[in-house]
């Protein structure tokens, strides 16, 4: 088979490009430490979600008991709301999220950031995020979940450390 010299050059350049793309993603994951959502959160029975060890203290923002994170957010999604809808954390904190769905598939997306996860009934989404800048962040459900999908929103309030009062912020409760 006759392959033109330009075709061979193009073929080689295309392969180099592809390998380079894969390399940058590997660097992003390993070097820069972008953590991917995977099966770490485990599975859950949506009918008896409160019996799962993740939710044994209910939902809300809790102090974490380990060195990997400062706080833990335990949340459930059910059309058309996240519970809790508003989460308050201090700046420069590392927060681990646990979210599951009690009905259909939802999304949890902090607009304009790379915090973004699908929320699937039967599964717990577990991911960790760092909040370096104070401010009010919009959270939207980004998977169609029913007739009021567009009303499903929440927020993350990142407050200065001086204004952070654990007694006000660390609250658990029932969904």
């Amino acid at each position: 088979m006759e392959i033109h010299r330009y075709e061979r050059l193009w073929f080689a350049a295309a392969l180099v490009l592809i390998v380079a793309f894969i390399a940058t993603v590997v660097y992003g994951a390993v070097g820069a430490g972008v953590e991917m959502i995977d099966d770490d959160g485990g599975t859950i029975d949506p009918d008896n979600w409160q019996d799962h060890e993740v939710y044994d203290e209910g939902i809300g923002v809790f102090a974490a008991n380990d060195s990997d994170a400062d706080y833990e957010v335990k949340m459930v999604a059910q059309h058309p709301a996240f519970s809790p809808g508003t989460v308050t954390v201090p700046e420069n904190s590392t927060v681990r999220f646990y979210i599951t769905s009690l009905d259909v598939i939802h999304g949890y997306d902090v607009a304009g950031t790379n915090i973004n996860s699908m929320i699937i009934p039967g599964q717990i989404s577990e991911f960790t995020a760092e909040f370096d800048e104070t401010g009010e962040y919009l959270v939207v459900c980004n998977e169609y979940c029913g007739p009021n999908h567009h009303n499903m929103e929440g927020s993350i309030q990142v407050v200065p450390e001086s204004e952070w009062n654990p007694d006000d912020a660390l609250v658990g409760g029932d969904a």
């Binding site: 295309a14 894969i22 993603v25 995977d38 009905d103 997306d109 039967g122 999908h149």
Partner: protein, 571 residues
Amino acid sequence: MAVFADRYPEEARVVRLALASAFLALFLGGLMGPIQALHRTGYVQFLDDSTYYTVLTLHGVALALLFTIFFLVGFFHWAVTDSLDRNAESTRFSLLWYGMMVLGAAMSAVTILAGFVGQVDMSADVLFTFYAPLQAHPLFYAGLAVFLIGTWLAGVDWFRSWYHWKQAHPGERTPLRTFMVLTTMLMWYLATAGVAIAVVFFLLPWSLGLIGSVNPLLTRTLFWFFGHPVVYFWLMPVYMLWYVILPKLAGGRLFSDPLARIVFVLFLVLSVPTGIHHQYLDPGIAEGFKFLAMTNTMFLLLPSLLTAFTVVASIEHGARQRGGEGYLGWLGALPWRNPTFTGLALAGLMFAAAGFSGMVNAAMNLNYVVHNTLWVVGHFHLTVGTAVALSFMAATYWFLPLLTGREIFSERMGLAQVLLWFVGMVMMSNAMHRAGMAGVPRRTADPTYDIAFESGMGTISELRLQIALGGVILTLSLALFFANLLISWFDVGETRAATGETLPPALSGPEHAPAVLENLRLWTAIAIVLVLLTYVLPLAAIVDGSGLLGNIDRAVPMLLDLGRIALEVVA
């Protein structure tokens, strides 16, 4: 040479039927487009927000599934008949698969349109992806299954023709167009296995109440097993147009026949084991499986990059045959007044842009910024919405005369149409990409929230204006297309008789291709092995985690209320 319709009148009739169904779906789905573009940007909202999702379901199903697939089965039927120069084995069989596709499409459409007749208790407001536990009426799933079987039988029809052709032509290489059809259909058989299993074994029995629960992650994974390769099912006929028709219109011929075959074999092998890249953000799937899907996806860039080279080289060759000179000066020698040439070329240009946003989607880490945002909608309006839809419309100006025996009514109108589509899509898609980077979600009726989005480039209101304006321009383009199509089809404008066309052979012909390329069994076997390597372990883990039927015993029926839409429109 006589036109196709004179040489193969029975086959031409089947192609015309398929095209008529495709254009009906294009009309219905296209009509929904401006309603959405104006509603979600806040300019014209004559529907309830909750009804937006009905419109969205129609838009997705009619355009992404029905328009594309009806057009391509018609196009493939022509390609096989014409390139083998042989009648289909049985017109009744051809009408059977066409009839099944129509029946299946109608069954699903009825569940969507049922609201028009009043108090019918039907529902199918589940969008194009029908993720459980959102639940549609059983007829919706049954219709999908019947439609799929119709497409499978269409493939059988073409394989039969090929088999009999080979008996009569021992030792000859399969003609290029038939080779492209057969590799595409082999990919399709493999890809549709996922959605067929999801629909027949889980969703349909569940909607009928025969099984009490489903595992949402399992049916979602089976959907994406099909959901990514389906885009190549739409795209491979477009590649055929770019490889076979575009070089001819440019005044030349295809650069390399063997390379075209290699590209189609690569698509057969690599299309299916990639679907998990739609699930990078899913819990319950280990990172390693996602990484494997990403690697396959990135290598799938290879056939597209090779195509970019071959197609541009073929066009340049054509331009130089027409007297074009210089490094870029040859571009001026191309037939830019021909709507088919210009439409196909612009579609290819937009597809290159789509390739770049697709690389962002495919990168696991970057995907977190854009997943399920309007960026993705911008991306696939460049791929299926332009590379495929614009190519199919542009090709119609060339293709329809072969089927009716009469030229198209107005080439200038056609040229205006493809240019308007290009301009409208540049505006809409570009703004959608930018809005997506700010986090504006897809599939959302009225994305205004208590906290405003912050856009890095341009204000959100400016982006909304561009999306709405782009949508209106695209609708104008569609109106021009239908006017031209109907006048041409029904011969209202007394058009000239068409002349027969022959497609020139490639510069480097099939005899230069290694014989192993003909071995479709080998390539199919490799494709199956790759699919098993990519899917067996994640599927086993998903079933192991929540069970085959899961523990989700709830169903969330999605009521579709088109009766309400009708009332709102009247009011």
